[in-house]
Symmetry: C2
Subunit: 324 residues, 2 copies
């Protein structure tokens, strides 16, 4: 993990080194603000790590790593408008600190700056990397639209849900790793394997998130336990429960989802009891483990020294053992 | 002009040939809708025309031409949210037909699709064209932010205004022409000249717009005469008048701009009288002619057969003689 922390510090330093123009202030201040809010910087760090795995040089991959991070932050700025989220990392989101117009336009510029970082230098892999970046960027938007569509849909299947989280979160992690590999001249097969490692791990990570929301240790999760349940959020847990519930259990679940009078803590309690009856936690963990093992299997298939691959496995394990 | 009409028809056919994905429908339907609303398609047609001027092939430039048109339409989708504009080309704008979230996200995807068209094929000019496209895209956003900032600023100078219209409208026309030239392997000098031709012409065009708003033939302008005056829009005419007005004229102008009770037609009448006293129309036309002649001078400097350049001059003249 030391190596990932090392790369995170490289990313942090590079982000601090980006000089935004001064004018128009309402366009560029929100960009500096957003990039200074922090975040785990996992995607760009993994891009550099994948680049290193295949013998690439950090300096040849740093621009693409910044592109990924700036793009990711663009999605947060626009998503916060769409999701009515006034806070981001404990600070006001751009639209609530300034206004919606500022958040739209400065977000647009961040997206373009992401492309600028990808295309900063000319190199033999530019066309390929750019193609992957664009396809991924559009996929992320599709995931966001599906997520919004789910809010008002009553026919969301588990497959729809898995597709949504793949698009909304997993493909960006996958593409980060693959771009690192491409820039290091990896084989096509290895680039595919590291992509699938990232994609499967990203899906497992999101499923873990769903489980932790309800079953995490409240002192460690850092947010209210059962927030997803209270909001009727269509997580894996709820969708699986709706798939399996019959008779009295189904009626009880429907009541919890539609009642206007049930208190939040009662709702969490009753829904948890239903989930426990249906063994939803174990099923979600089983699904998560399927994706986790698929990820590890792709990692194993990569033609690189085992000791250099160990950091990816350690990282994947740490994600699965996290408590928040 | 036949040649431009020919290229416009090529663009229309190519736009119709773009197949948007079906799902998520709320992401892709607004894109098809926007691209089907029409528009003059002048920018992409001029890109192909510039490409042709320097001996390029249409098929090598069509993707970039589509990129420009898709990008331009992206700006309209997001601008309509920011400007609270419920109509676009006489039809509901995307945010008013669907909602703001749909307009934000489908606009984002259009921006990315623009980049995809630029980067569709790999070619020796990809890095250069992409760089110009990105710089231009960001400049257009800067222009839009300046335009919005002007609404609440009381210290807008003529120079600020000229910079804003250059960024918001002229550089995209300029970049379209230059991309066409680059793709046809023009000399660096010629690429610069055609860029400056487009930029100066774009500024002249926008100044003409300001004049026509108040002095155009109401039966031909197609919108209410003096709409800019009624809205206190900081056009060249108003900014020049504020620069020149003194004493009683200044007081009178201030009254018209700040009065809550003056009727619209009275306001237009009185402001027009002030403008006439200050000879604002002639001054605006003089400024416009400066940009127009700068454009023609750059066109003259291009190393290409005069008969092939004639269509650009005819086009520029037609813009200056238009009545709407």
């Amino acid at each position: 993990m030391q190596k990932i922390i090392h790369y995170i510090s490289i990313i942090e330093a590079a982000l601090k080194g980006i000089n935004q123009k001064k004018e128009p202030a309402k366009l560029y201040e929100p960009i500096s603000y957003t990039l200074s809010l922090g975040g785990k910087r996992i995607r760009p760090a993994l891009l550099l790590l994948a680049n290193n795995l295949f013998g690439g040089k950090d300096e040849d991959a740093i621009d693409s790593a910044l592109a990924i991070e700036v793009f990711h932050n663009f999605t947060l700025v626009h998503d916060d408008i769409m999701d009515d989220a006034p806070l981001r990392r404990g600070k006001p989101s751009v639209y609530s600190k300034w206004d919606t117009n500022v958040a739209i336009l400065s977000g647009d510029v961040m997206l373009m700056q992401g492309i600028q970082f990808i295309a900063k230098k000319n190199h033999p892999h530019l066309h390929e990397v750019l193609g992957l970046f664009n396809t991924t960027a559009i996929a992320v938007c599709e995931g966001q639209q599906m997520d919004m569509d789910f809010e008002t849909s009553s026919t969301v299947s588990i497959d729809d849900y898995l597709k949504m989280i793949a698009l909304k979160t997993a493909v960006l992690l996958a593409a980060s790793l693959k771009i690192g590999a491409i820039l290091a001249n990896s084989s096509i097969a290895d680039a595919k394997h590291i992509y699938e490692f990232g994609k499967n791990l990203g899906i497992a990570f999101q499923l873990m998130d769903d489980v932790l929301d309800l079953y995490g240790d409240p002192t460690k999760v850092g947010k209210r336990v059962g927030g997803d349940v209270i909001a009727n959020k269509k997580t894996y847990l709820l969708l699986k429960a709706q798939e399996l519930a019959t008779g009295k259990t189904q009626q009880d679940l429907d009541f919890c989802l539609t009642s206007k009078v049930i208190e939040d803590h009662k709702k969490v309690e009753r829904v948890t009891a239903i989930f426990n009856t249906l063994k939803i936690k174990a099923l979600a963990e089983e699904e998560m483990n399927l994706f986790y093992h698929a990820a590890i299997s792709h990692l194993d298939s990569i033609d690189a020294p085992a000791d250099k691959k160990q950091v990816f496995e350690d990282f994947a394990k740490s994600l699965m053992q996290r408590e928040n």
